[in-house]
Symmetry: C2
Subunit: 338 residues, 2 copies
Amino acid sequence: MLSERRLQVLRAIVQDYVGTEEPVGSKALTERHSLGVSPATVRNDMAALEDEGYIAQPHTSAGRIPTDKGYRLFVDKLAGVKPMTAPERRAIQNFLEGAVDLDDVVARTVRLLAQLTRQVAVVQYPSLTRSTVRHVELLSLAPARVMLVLITDTGRVEQRMVDCPAPFGDASLADLRARLNSRVANRRFADVPSLVEDLPEAFEHEDRGTVSTVLSTLLETLVEENEERLMIGGTANLTRFGHDFPLTIRPVLEALEEQVVLLKLLGEAQDPGVTVRIGHENAHVGLNSTSVVSVGYGSGGEAVAKLGVVGPTRMDYPGTMGAVRAVARYVGQILAES
Amino acid sequence: MLSERRLQVLRAIVQDYVGTEEPVGSKALTERHSLGVSPATVRNDMAALEDEGYIAQPHTSAGRIPTDKGYRLFVDKLAGVKPMTAPERRAIQNFLEGAVDLDDVVARTVRLLAQLTRQVAVVQYPSLTRSTVRHVELLSLAPARVMLVLITDTGRVEQRMVDCPAPFGDASLADLRARLNSRVANRRFADVPSLVEDLPEAFEHEDRGTVSTVLSTLLETLVEENEERLMIGGTANLTRFGHDFPLTIRPVLEALEEQVVLLKLLGEAQDPGVTVRIGHENAHVGLNSTSVVSVGYGSGGEAVAKLGVVGPTRMDYPGTMGAVRAVARYVGQILAES
DNA sequence: TGCTGGCACTCGCACGCGCAGAGTGCCAGG
DNA sequence: CCTGGCACTCTGCGCGTGCGAGTGCCAGCA
């Protein structure tokens, strides 16, 4: 177990390194922090911290920088979440309240997060699978062609074309629409399949094929998880990453374009609170030199989607976590209101 | 007027520079291209070309690189559009045909363009203002709350919440829906305002306020041009830009995040064919070292939106123009089918 | 036992230098 | 009008050097 002072030394190293982006030495540490001991003592502590794998030196006789393990300890034990100030909170709220629809909410959230944290922001659209159905609409576009529109309680709209096996009358369509809505409105997505299972039986034999087709398209839409869209922003902040550019930035940009990767990344965060994944803790290799700070947000008590930021492992964790948490909270409020 | 050979020299310079990314000298030129003259002659031609502003040297006694003006001449006079090969065309078509809905079409288009050109791809969603209304749906969510859903012929769906001044019965709602659709279905957006102008008069006095509100929301949605969304991809290709990274790449990333800028950029391209904006021809300063190749695409004869790529001025213009044109053509086909 | 000051040592980095190579402009001759 | 030759000008690169920051270790002290 590390002594109290050694933890303080680690904390100081992390803070200084985050601030200066340069390896920090024993002398500078004692000057900038009142540790009450001499550089020599700090050197001994540093040697110990290095033995334990919390810090490392880029090359012999340079200062130390924190390792992923060091950041992990810092986040878990040495630093809290820095709350937003009141003016900041007001600004967040004001900015988000100007949104006109769901797309706009997400777009504003991304921009806000990117600005606040000066990092890359990722916001997942409110997920289908955890929401409830507000309305299902069926439109006849041609005798044997129906458009299915699904509206969720989070304001999201999904549409699908359905090619019917047989022509489908307007009356039947209205009938199906009414029955469908009376069954599934305000129900959770997960419950829908069992609720509509026997629906075809209520129809004339000739229409059953079409009804089944429509229903299966609906179910498909509900579970279609690769449709979990997300929006990213603030990629220009990547340029603040480091000096050894192309090598660092490229894999990150590539990872960011792989929606699958990002969704998995956000999905991993299961805690109720803010989740932090540091460096190699991220499964994707392209993100091994980045940290991901994410959190769930939702319109009620329950989280319907995730949002977060991607930045260098050398980031201001308390501040970033505070911003991410605050934004998530206010987005939740906005969604609940609309 | 430049002699034929000087134009050939310019063409050779552009081609070599695009290939090697390095200033090209007179000797290398004669070796790689059979111009039939000696390096000394080429030097004279180069001096002339430099006087005219088509090429420049980064520093005395280095090779030449084309200027924006040089690229412009190259694009306009010296190079055609390189058509895609048959296998490439098949691949494009196959890839796009797998799309399940409009979002997917756009997403696939972006990925495709980015891959083909190895540059940043930008695809505008089919524009509202040039399309026709397929259907307007009204859903009662609460006594004084209506959701308006607008479906376009390109498969795009827009929704808006409407807070009504007074409660609105289901019968009235159904009435409004029917009247509305009979008037505007399959009409162009531009024609809608005059078509619904007198609609409130057909309703009871108590409902007129609500009807007006709904209609004005509909009109708002129709003209809301900042809602012209777009999708970008292939930003990782920016890392291939140059060696002097941060300075080049940063403003580009910033510009790409400003949808307004991009929309204006694509909007500028008015030609029926492929439009190329080179370097400083782009109004936005962040894009002064990039070229934009764009083209309209559409589901009929008419263009409903634009797509294009953003890359370094040093790009393979014929190939890029060919790819952009081919992709636009096939996206148009896909949209027409769905 | 733990902290401190002192000291020798290590290394990376910035700086200055010189050299080779590529490329040019110009000129005289065909 | 083209060509070969020649002198000139740069940039980039490799190399050696000195500097400074930082470390590790050791002996002394509370």
